[in-house]
Amino acid sequence: MARRASPAASIAGLIGAALLAGCAGEPPAAARGRSLVQAHGCGACHVIPGVPGARGRAGPSLEAVGRRAYLGGVVPNSREGMARWLAQPRHADPGTAMPDLGLTVAEAEAMAAYLSMLR
């Protein structure tokens, strides 16, 4: 059903993933962010283009999260806002199921650099 519903998106995702995996245009911060996203298991809860095995369904898909206006439905989306949200989601929204992962500021910034590129 999902496959049938969004062939265009899947193709776009594949192309995006291929481009990112190719590392041709990927800034070093984003590349580091991508491995951090993988290492911290974000894919256990989220579908994340470009991250192998990221097919979690607890939270929303992070497809095009760079274009999203709000993160967690609460935080206006910007690179800095996303880094803060990743570092301390429960600071922004105490009720959220998104856990604090104990990221350092630098780690959160690198992950935001990667995720912001998902458009």
């Binding site: 519903a5 898909s61 095009a64 206006a69 439905g73 929204d93 199921a97």
Partner: protein, 269 residues
């Protein structure tokens, strides 16, 4: 063969010209200027023919219906359409097309067509579909009043409008299980498509909130509620109660409509 070839070339040139007008942004879409003469002519015919063909007769309305309709008209229609002796609000005058003077409409159209447009609206004119704001009875009432407009002097309208009580709030009791088909229509009618992408709904391409494709498989709603039917209905109706920090607004969705929308969303796998 040659006439066929010629026809093909003409068709190609026309298609190319059309594509160029679209692609280079040639056409003036501003509300300052009306459509060009030929475009207006075609659209006007298309609108009139569609309404005439699709509308079905409505029952004869009594005096009481038109009296109830007056209060609805005063509270929901005058702002854009004006009334005898009453101008539309300034914002409405900036719309293109300027909302019709309904005295003229009522003189030229029958009640069936007026009812059809009130209920379903007209896309890209600014005329909303009132099906989700009024009850079936209210749709008939407001139609009945519009049809009486040409008989009213401006003075009489003013007196009646001043005296009419506030209209009763429409009720939407939950009476049946959610219906995905109706939910799909309600999804659009409550503005969900302005913020959420759903691949199978044309025009639902925004990323203000998360995409709702795959919602059926999501474990949490709004990042905090377990994804059950009851929670989904609650979240759709009272997002600000669930999470006061949320950007998702309370859209005034009634219980039955919320059930329908929830049923539709649960079909998104």
């Amino acid at each position: 063969m040659r006439p066929i070839l010629l026809a093909l070339l003409v068709a190609l040139a026309a298609a190319g010209g059309g594509a160029a007008v679209v692609g280079f942004g040639v056409y003036d879409v501003s509300a300052i200027n009306q459509h060009t003469g030929p475009v207006y002519w075609v659209l006007d015919i298309a609108m009139n023919r569609a309404v005439a063909t699709r509308s079905t007769p409505v029952p004869e309305a009594d005096e009481e219906a038109s009296r109830r309709g007056l209060a609805l008209f005063r509270d929901h229609c005058v702002q854009c359409h004006g009334a005898p002796g009453v101008a539309p609000q300034p914002f409405a005058l900036g719309m293109t097309p300027v909302p019709s003077n309904l005295v003229a409409t009522a003189r030229e159209w029958d009640a069936a067509r007026v009812h059809w447009v009130v209920e379903r609206g007209l896309k890209m004119t600014g005329m909303p579909a009132w099906r989700y704001r009024f009850t079936a009875q209210q749709l008939r009432d407001v139609t009945a009043f519009v049809m009486r407009l040409p008989e009213l002097t401006p003075m009489r309208y003013r007196e009646l409008a001043a005296a009419a009580p506030a209209p009763a709030a429409p009720a939407d009791p939950a009476q049946r299980p959610g219906d995905p088909q109706r939910g799909r229509e309600a999804f659009r009618q409550y503005g969900c498509a302005s913020c959420h992408r759903v691949m199978r709904i044309s025009g639902a391409r925004q990323h203000v909130g998360p995409p709702l494709d795959g919602l059926a498989q999501r474990r949490y709603l709004a990042g905090m509620l377990p994804n059950t039917e009851e929670n989904l209905v609650r979240w759709i109706r009272f997002p600000q109660q669930v999470d006061p920090r949320s950007a998702m607004p309370d859209l005034g969705v009634g219980p039955q409509r919320a059930r329908d929308i929830a049923a539709f969303l649960q079909t998104l796998e």
